[in-house]
Protein backbone atom coordinates (compact mmCIF):
# COMPACT_ATOMS: atom_id res chain seq x y z
CA UNK A 1 0.00 0.00 0.00
CA UNK A 2 2.65 2.45 1.09
CA UNK A 3 4.75 1.70 -2.01
CA UNK A 4 1.64 2.37 -4.08
CA UNK A 5 1.35 5.82 -2.54
CA UNK A 6 5.05 6.53 -3.08
CA UNK A 7 4.61 5.41 -6.68
CA UNK A 8 1.60 7.69 -7.08
CA UNK A 9 3.59 10.62 -5.66
CA UNK A 10 6.46 9.88 -8.04
CA UNK A 11 4.05 9.65 -10.98
CA UNK A 12 2.55 13.04 -10.04
CA UNK A 13 6.05 14.52 -9.95
CA UNK A 14 6.93 13.12 -13.40
CA UNK A 15 3.64 14.50 -14.77
CA UNK A 16 4.47 17.94 -13.33
CA UNK A 17 7.89 17.85 -15.05
CA UNK A 18 6.35 16.75 -18.37
CA UNK A 19 3.55 19.33 -18.07
CA UNK A 20 6.19 21.99 -17.45
CA UNK A 21 8.00 20.93 -20.61
CA UNK A 22 4.81 21.22 -22.65
CA UNK A 23 4.02 24.62 -21.07
CA UNK A 24 7.46 26.04 -21.89
CA UNK A 25 7.78 24.58 -25.38
CA UNK A 26 4.18 25.28 -26.54
CA UNK A 27 2.91 28.20 -24.46
CA UNK A 28 6.20 30.08 -24.14
CA UNK A 29 6.84 30.97 -27.79
CA UNK A 30 3.13 31.24 -28.69
CA UNK A 31 2.23 34.66 -30.20
CA UNK A 32 -0.52 36.10 -32.43
CA UNK A 33 0.15 39.05 -34.75
CA UNK A 34 -2.95 39.80 -36.87
CA UNK A 35 -5.09 41.66 -34.34
CA UNK A 36 -3.08 44.80 -33.55
CA UNK A 37 -3.37 45.92 -29.93
CA UNK A 38 -5.52 42.88 -29.12
CA UNK A 39 -2.67 40.47 -29.94
CA UNK A 40 -1.57 39.98 -26.34
CA UNK A 41 -5.15 39.58 -25.11
CA UNK A 42 -6.04 36.90 -27.68
CA UNK A 43 -2.71 35.15 -27.18
CA UNK A 44 -3.33 35.13 -23.41
CA UNK A 45 -6.82 33.72 -23.94
CA UNK A 46 -5.45 30.91 -26.12
CA UNK A 47 -2.75 30.24 -23.51
CA UNK A 48 -5.41 30.01 -20.80
CA UNK A 49 -7.38 27.49 -22.88
CA UNK A 50 -4.27 25.37 -23.58
CA UNK A 51 -3.34 25.50 -19.87
CA UNK A 52 -6.85 24.40 -18.87
CA UNK A 53 -6.72 21.51 -21.36
CA UNK A 54 -3.36 20.48 -19.87
CA UNK A 55 -4.76 20.60 -16.32
CA UNK A 56 -7.81 18.52 -17.33
CA UNK A 57 -5.53 16.02 -19.09
CA UNK A 58 -3.34 15.91 -15.94
CA UNK A 59 -6.37 15.15 -13.76
CA UNK A 60 -7.67 12.44 -16.12
CA UNK A 61 -4.25 10.76 -16.31
CA UNK A 62 -3.99 10.87 -12.51
CA UNK A 63 -7.43 9.29 -12.13
CA UNK A 64 -6.39 6.47 -14.47
CA UNK A 65 -3.11 6.07 -12.58
CA UNK A 66 -4.93 6.03 -9.24
CA UNK A 67 -7.21 3.24 -10.42
CA UNK A 68 -4.23 1.28 -11.81
CA UNK A 69 -2.00 1.66 -8.74
CA UNK A 70 -4.69 1.07 -6.12
CA UNK A 71 -6.74 -1.51 -8.10
CA UNK A 72 -6.15 -4.27 -5.53
CA UNK A 73 -6.62 -2.13 -2.43
CA UNK A 74 -9.63 -0.09 -3.58
CA UNK A 75 -12.55 -2.20 -2.55
CA UNK A 76 -14.58 0.93 -1.89
Amino acid sequence: MKFGLFGFLFAMWILILLGGGIMVTILGPFTIQQFGEFNWMIASGVKVIIALVLVIAWILILLKLKNQIFRKELKF
Partner: protein, 330 residues
Protein backbone atom coordinates in the same frame (compact mmCIF):
# COMPACT_ATOMS: atom_id res chain seq x y z
CA UNK B 1 24.14 36.53 2.53
CA UNK B 2 26.17 36.99 5.75
CA UNK B 3 24.12 40.09 6.72
CA UNK B 4 20.97 37.93 6.64
CA UNK B 5 22.17 35.51 9.32
CA UNK B 6 21.39 37.70 12.37
CA UNK B 7 17.82 38.62 11.23
CA UNK B 8 17.24 34.96 10.38
CA UNK B 9 18.34 33.74 13.82
CA UNK B 10 16.35 36.41 15.70
CA UNK B 11 13.16 35.81 13.69
CA UNK B 12 13.38 32.02 14.01
CA UNK B 13 13.90 32.21 17.79
CA UNK B 14 11.02 34.73 18.04
CA UNK B 15 8.70 32.57 15.94
CA UNK B 16 9.43 29.41 17.91
CA UNK B 17 9.25 30.81 21.43
CA UNK B 18 6.15 32.99 20.92
CA UNK B 19 4.15 29.90 19.89
CA UNK B 20 5.90 27.71 22.47
CA UNK B 21 5.09 30.02 25.40
CA UNK B 22 1.76 31.39 24.15
CA UNK B 23 0.06 28.03 23.48
CA UNK B 24 -0.21 26.78 27.14
CA UNK B 25 -2.06 29.93 28.34
CA UNK B 26 -4.19 29.78 25.18
CA UNK B 27 -5.11 26.17 26.06
CA UNK B 28 -6.14 27.27 29.61
CA UNK B 29 -8.13 30.20 28.20
CA UNK B 30 -9.98 27.95 25.73
CA UNK B 31 -10.64 25.34 28.45
CA UNK B 32 -12.23 27.99 30.68
CA UNK B 33 -14.50 29.06 27.83
CA UNK B 34 -15.24 25.41 26.98
CA UNK B 35 -14.11 25.81 23.38
CA UNK B 36 -13.46 22.08 23.04
CA UNK B 37 -14.40 19.29 20.64
CA UNK B 38 -14.35 15.51 21.06
CA UNK B 39 -11.25 13.74 19.75
CA UNK B 40 -13.01 11.18 17.55
CA UNK B 41 -10.04 8.80 17.41
CA UNK B 42 -9.78 8.16 21.16
CA UNK B 43 -11.57 5.33 22.99
CA UNK B 44 -12.40 7.49 25.98
CA UNK B 45 -14.37 10.75 25.74
CA UNK B 46 -11.36 13.02 25.31
CA UNK B 47 -12.13 16.69 24.74
CA UNK B 48 -9.48 18.83 23.02
CA UNK B 49 -9.58 22.63 22.86
CA UNK B 50 -9.36 24.63 19.65
CA UNK B 51 -8.41 26.79 17.82
CA UNK B 52 -4.64 27.17 18.11
CA UNK B 53 -4.64 29.70 15.27
CA UNK B 54 -4.16 32.77 17.56
CA UNK B 55 -0.81 31.45 18.86
CA UNK B 56 0.36 30.62 15.32
CA UNK B 57 -0.59 33.99 13.83
CA UNK B 58 1.05 35.84 16.77
CA UNK B 59 4.31 33.97 16.17
CA UNK B 60 4.16 34.63 12.44
CA UNK B 61 3.31 38.36 12.68
CA UNK B 62 5.95 39.20 15.31
CA UNK B 63 8.74 37.20 13.63
CA UNK B 64 7.95 38.64 10.20
CA UNK B 65 7.85 42.18 11.65
CA UNK B 66 11.30 41.52 13.12
CA UNK B 67 12.47 40.57 9.64
CA UNK B 68 10.79 43.65 8.16
CA UNK B 69 12.71 45.86 10.59
CA UNK B 70 15.93 44.48 9.11
CA UNK B 71 15.07 43.91 5.45
CA UNK B 72 12.13 46.26 4.67
CA UNK B 73 10.78 44.10 1.88
CA UNK B 74 7.25 44.55 0.55
CA UNK B 75 7.14 40.76 0.24
CA UNK B 76 7.16 40.50 4.05
CA UNK B 77 4.20 42.90 4.38
CA UNK B 78 2.29 40.94 1.74
CA UNK B 79 2.92 37.66 3.58
CA UNK B 80 1.77 39.22 6.88
CA UNK B 81 -1.44 40.69 5.35
CA UNK B 82 -2.41 37.59 3.36
CA UNK B 83 -1.67 35.24 6.25
CA UNK B 84 -3.58 37.45 8.73
CA UNK B 85 -6.56 37.57 6.36
CA UNK B 86 -6.49 33.77 6.12
CA UNK B 87 -6.41 33.58 9.93
CA UNK B 88 -9.50 35.81 10.20
CA UNK B 89 -11.32 33.69 7.58
CA UNK B 90 -10.43 30.53 9.47
CA UNK B 91 -11.42 32.07 12.80
CA UNK B 92 -14.86 33.00 11.42
CA UNK B 93 -15.23 29.38 10.25
CA UNK B 94 -14.11 28.12 13.68
CA UNK B 95 -16.78 30.18 15.44
CA UNK B 96 -19.62 29.85 12.94
CA UNK B 97 -20.32 26.99 10.54
CA UNK B 98 -20.03 28.43 7.03
CA UNK B 99 -20.90 26.90 3.64
CA UNK B 100 -18.47 25.03 1.41
CA UNK B 101 -18.01 28.12 -0.79
CA UNK B 102 -16.92 30.41 2.07
CA UNK B 103 -13.25 29.47 2.43
CA UNK B 104 -12.29 29.20 -1.28
CA UNK B 105 -13.94 32.53 -2.16
CA UNK B 106 -12.66 34.53 0.82
CA UNK B 107 -9.17 33.04 0.55
CA UNK B 108 -9.08 34.20 -3.08
CA UNK B 109 -9.82 37.71 -1.76
CA UNK B 110 -6.97 37.29 0.75
CA UNK B 111 -4.62 36.93 -2.23
CA UNK B 112 -5.34 40.51 -3.45
CA UNK B 113 -2.43 42.11 -1.48
CA UNK B 114 0.02 39.99 -3.51
CA UNK B 115 -1.30 41.61 -6.69
CA UNK B 116 -1.78 45.08 -5.16
CA UNK B 117 1.86 45.23 -3.99
CA UNK B 118 3.12 43.70 -7.25
CA UNK B 119 5.20 41.17 -5.35
CA UNK B 120 5.10 38.50 -8.03
CA UNK B 121 6.78 37.61 -11.27
CA UNK B 122 4.51 36.68 -14.18
CA UNK B 123 6.94 33.96 -15.24
CA UNK B 124 6.45 30.38 -14.11
CA UNK B 125 9.75 28.48 -13.68
CA UNK B 126 9.87 24.80 -14.57
CA UNK B 127 12.77 22.41 -13.99
CA UNK B 128 14.82 21.41 -17.06
CA UNK B 129 12.74 23.48 -19.50
CA UNK B 130 13.12 27.03 -18.12
CA UNK B 131 10.54 29.78 -17.70
CA UNK B 132 7.26 30.60 -19.43
CA UNK B 133 5.75 34.12 -19.30
CA UNK B 134 1.99 33.98 -18.67
CA UNK B 135 0.96 37.52 -17.55
CA UNK B 136 -2.84 37.08 -17.52
CA UNK B 137 -2.85 33.41 -16.54
CA UNK B 138 -0.52 34.13 -13.66
CA UNK B 139 -2.96 36.57 -12.02
CA UNK B 140 -5.60 33.82 -12.13
CA UNK B 141 -3.03 31.42 -10.66
CA UNK B 142 -2.51 33.75 -7.68
CA UNK B 143 -6.25 33.78 -6.96
CA UNK B 144 -6.30 29.96 -7.10
CA UNK B 145 -3.07 29.28 -5.24
CA UNK B 146 -3.93 30.72 -1.80
CA UNK B 147 -7.30 28.88 -1.54
CA UNK B 148 -5.64 25.67 -2.75
CA UNK B 149 -2.73 25.74 -0.28
CA UNK B 150 -5.00 26.88 2.57
CA UNK B 151 -7.59 24.20 1.97
CA UNK B 152 -5.11 21.37 1.31
CA UNK B 153 -3.48 21.93 4.71
CA UNK B 154 -6.93 22.21 6.29
CA UNK B 155 -8.03 18.95 4.66
CA UNK B 156 -5.01 17.04 5.98
CA UNK B 157 -5.74 18.20 9.55
CA UNK B 158 -7.56 14.98 10.43
CA UNK B 159 -5.33 13.26 13.00
CA UNK B 160 -3.36 14.40 16.05
CA UNK B 161 -0.23 16.29 15.00
CA UNK B 162 -0.54 15.68 11.26
CA UNK B 163 -1.17 19.24 10.00
CA UNK B 164 1.59 20.86 12.08
CA UNK B 165 4.06 17.98 11.58
CA UNK B 166 3.39 17.96 7.84
CA UNK B 167 3.94 21.73 7.68
CA UNK B 168 7.27 21.40 9.52
CA UNK B 169 8.51 19.03 6.80
CA UNK B 170 6.97 20.88 3.84
CA UNK B 171 8.01 24.38 4.92
CA UNK B 172 11.60 23.46 5.80
CA UNK B 173 11.84 21.65 2.44
CA UNK B 174 10.60 24.83 0.76
CA UNK B 175 13.14 26.94 2.67
CA UNK B 176 15.99 24.61 1.59
CA UNK B 177 14.74 24.88 -2.02
CA UNK B 178 14.71 28.70 -1.81
CA UNK B 179 18.34 28.60 -0.65
CA UNK B 180 19.19 26.23 -3.53
CA UNK B 181 17.67 28.58 -6.13
CA UNK B 182 19.61 31.41 -4.39
CA UNK B 183 16.54 33.40 -3.36
CA UNK B 184 18.14 34.02 0.04
CA UNK B 185 15.88 36.82 1.31
CA UNK B 186 12.63 34.89 0.77
CA UNK B 187 14.32 31.76 2.15
CA UNK B 188 14.94 33.68 5.40
CA UNK B 189 11.36 35.04 5.31
CA UNK B 190 10.04 31.46 4.96
CA UNK B 191 11.90 30.05 7.98
CA UNK B 192 9.44 31.32 10.67
CA UNK B 193 6.70 29.16 9.09
CA UNK B 194 8.67 26.03 9.90
CA UNK B 195 9.52 27.23 13.41
CA UNK B 196 5.94 28.18 14.39
CA UNK B 197 4.78 24.78 13.07
CA UNK B 198 7.53 23.03 15.05
CA UNK B 199 6.63 24.83 18.29
CA UNK B 200 2.92 24.11 17.77
CA UNK B 201 3.65 20.44 17.01
CA UNK B 202 4.79 20.01 20.64
CA UNK B 203 1.18 20.57 21.80
CA UNK B 204 -0.57 19.17 18.71
CA UNK B 205 1.27 15.82 18.51
CA UNK B 206 -0.51 12.70 19.76
CA UNK B 207 -2.17 12.96 22.31
CA UNK B 208 -3.18 16.48 21.25
CA UNK B 209 -3.64 19.17 23.89
CA UNK B 210 -4.94 21.62 21.27
CA UNK B 211 -6.15 21.49 17.66
CA UNK B 212 -5.15 24.22 15.18
CA UNK B 213 -8.72 24.59 13.92
CA UNK B 214 -9.51 26.23 10.60
CA UNK B 215 -7.79 29.43 11.74
CA UNK B 216 -4.53 27.56 12.37
CA UNK B 217 -4.62 25.34 9.28
CA UNK B 218 -5.58 28.19 6.90
CA UNK B 219 -2.91 30.44 8.45
CA UNK B 220 -0.19 27.86 7.78
CA UNK B 221 -1.49 26.99 4.29
CA UNK B 222 -1.99 30.59 3.13
CA UNK B 223 1.47 31.63 4.34
CA UNK B 224 2.97 28.67 2.48
CA UNK B 225 1.16 29.72 -0.72
CA UNK B 226 2.16 33.38 -0.34
CA UNK B 227 5.83 32.41 0.12
CA UNK B 228 5.65 30.21 -2.99
CA UNK B 229 4.33 33.13 -5.08
CA UNK B 230 6.60 35.92 -3.80
CA UNK B 231 9.57 33.53 -3.92
CA UNK B 232 8.80 32.46 -7.51
CA UNK B 233 8.93 28.76 -6.53
CA UNK B 234 5.34 27.74 -7.23
CA UNK B 235 6.18 24.41 -8.88
CA UNK B 236 8.68 23.44 -6.17
CA UNK B 237 6.13 24.37 -3.48
CA UNK B 238 3.49 22.22 -5.19
CA UNK B 239 5.89 19.25 -5.25
CA UNK B 240 6.68 19.61 -1.51
CA UNK B 241 2.94 19.71 -0.80
CA UNK B 242 2.07 16.65 -2.94
CA UNK B 243 0.75 14.33 -0.16
CA UNK B 244 -1.75 17.02 0.87
CA UNK B 245 -2.55 17.67 -2.81
CA UNK B 246 -3.20 13.93 -3.26
CA UNK B 247 -5.57 14.02 -0.29
CA UNK B 248 -7.56 16.91 -1.79
CA UNK B 249 -7.43 15.33 -5.25
CA UNK B 250 -8.74 11.97 -3.99
CA UNK B 251 -11.44 13.68 -1.95
CA UNK B 252 -12.65 15.92 -4.80
CA UNK B 253 -12.47 13.16 -7.42
CA UNK B 254 -14.63 10.88 -5.27
CA UNK B 255 -17.10 13.52 -3.98
CA UNK B 256 -17.07 15.46 -7.31
CA UNK B 257 -17.91 18.84 -5.73
CA UNK B 258 -16.53 21.36 -3.24
CA UNK B 259 -18.08 20.58 0.15
CA UNK B 260 -17.12 20.81 3.79
CA UNK B 261 -15.99 17.54 5.37
CA UNK B 262 -18.88 17.71 7.83
CA UNK B 263 -21.36 17.73 4.89
CA UNK B 264 -20.01 14.49 3.44
CA UNK B 265 -22.18 11.39 3.75
CA UNK B 266 -20.60 8.03 4.50
CA UNK B 267 -17.76 7.05 6.81
CA UNK B 268 -14.35 6.59 5.17
CA UNK B 269 -12.65 5.33 8.35
CA UNK B 270 -13.95 3.61 11.49
CA UNK B 271 -12.34 1.88 14.48
CA UNK B 272 -11.47 -1.68 15.46
CA UNK B 273 -12.26 -3.01 18.95
CA UNK B 274 -8.83 -1.89 20.17
CA UNK B 275 -9.57 1.51 18.58
CA UNK B 276 -7.09 1.29 15.73
CA UNK B 277 -8.16 3.05 12.53
CA UNK B 278 -9.65 0.92 9.76
CA UNK B 279 -10.75 1.74 6.18
CA UNK B 280 -14.44 1.02 5.61
CA UNK B 281 -15.98 -0.48 2.46
CA UNK B 282 -18.59 2.31 2.40
CA UNK B 283 -18.97 3.20 -1.30
CA UNK B 284 -20.69 6.50 -0.50
CA UNK B 285 -17.74 7.73 1.59
CA UNK B 286 -14.95 9.81 0.01
CA UNK B 287 -11.55 8.33 -0.80
CA UNK B 288 -8.90 10.09 1.30
CA UNK B 289 -5.17 9.74 1.91
CA UNK B 290 -5.81 8.20 5.36
CA UNK B 291 -8.28 5.71 3.87
CA UNK B 292 -5.72 4.66 1.24
CA UNK B 293 -3.01 4.25 3.88
CA UNK B 294 -5.41 2.08 5.88
CA UNK B 295 -6.48 -0.01 2.87
CA UNK B 296 -3.62 -2.43 3.70
CA UNK B 297 -5.04 -3.07 7.19
CA UNK B 298 -5.83 -1.30 10.48
CA UNK B 299 -3.18 0.97 12.00
CA UNK B 300 -2.94 3.10 15.13
CA UNK B 301 -3.43 6.87 14.81
CA UNK B 302 0.29 7.35 15.47
CA UNK B 303 1.26 4.88 12.72
CA UNK B 304 -0.97 6.64 10.17
CA UNK B 305 0.56 9.99 11.17
CA UNK B 306 4.07 8.65 10.64
CA UNK B 307 3.05 7.15 7.27
CA UNK B 308 1.93 10.65 6.20
CA UNK B 309 5.22 12.15 7.48
CA UNK B 310 7.18 9.59 5.43
CA UNK B 311 5.25 10.65 2.33
CA UNK B 312 5.95 14.31 3.22
CA UNK B 313 9.69 13.59 3.54
CA UNK B 314 9.64 11.77 0.18
CA UNK B 315 7.94 14.72 -1.56
CA UNK B 316 10.30 17.13 0.26
CA UNK B 317 13.23 15.22 -1.30
CA UNK B 318 11.52 15.40 -4.71
CA UNK B 319 11.11 19.18 -4.19
CA UNK B 320 14.82 19.55 -3.39
CA UNK B 321 15.74 17.53 -6.51
CA UNK B 322 13.37 19.81 -8.48
CA UNK B 323 15.14 22.88 -7.07
CA UNK B 324 18.52 21.54 -8.23
CA UNK B 325 16.98 20.85 -11.66
CA UNK B 326 15.87 24.51 -11.92
CA UNK B 327 19.43 25.49 -12.78
CA UNK B 328 19.62 22.93 -15.60
CA UNK B 329 17.97 23.58 -18.96
CA UNK B 330 17.93 21.55 -22.18
Amino acid sequence: MIELIIPAIISCITAFFIVFFMTPPLIKFLEKRNFAVKDMNKKEDVMVVRPGGPALIAGIIVSELVLYAFLQLNEILVIIITTSAAFVIGYVDDRKVMGGWFKPVTLAVAAIPIIAFGTYDTGLSFPLFGMVQIPVLYIALIFFMIPITGNTINSIDVLNGVASGFMVIASFSLSICLFIVQNYEIAIVSLPLGFVSLAFYKYHKIPSKIFPGDSGALTLGAMYGAIAIVGGVEIIAAVALLPAVINSFLFLSSVKKIVEHRQVKGTPVDHTDDFRLRATNDKSAPVTLVRLILAGGPLSEKQVGFAIFKLAIFSGILAIITAFMMGVTF
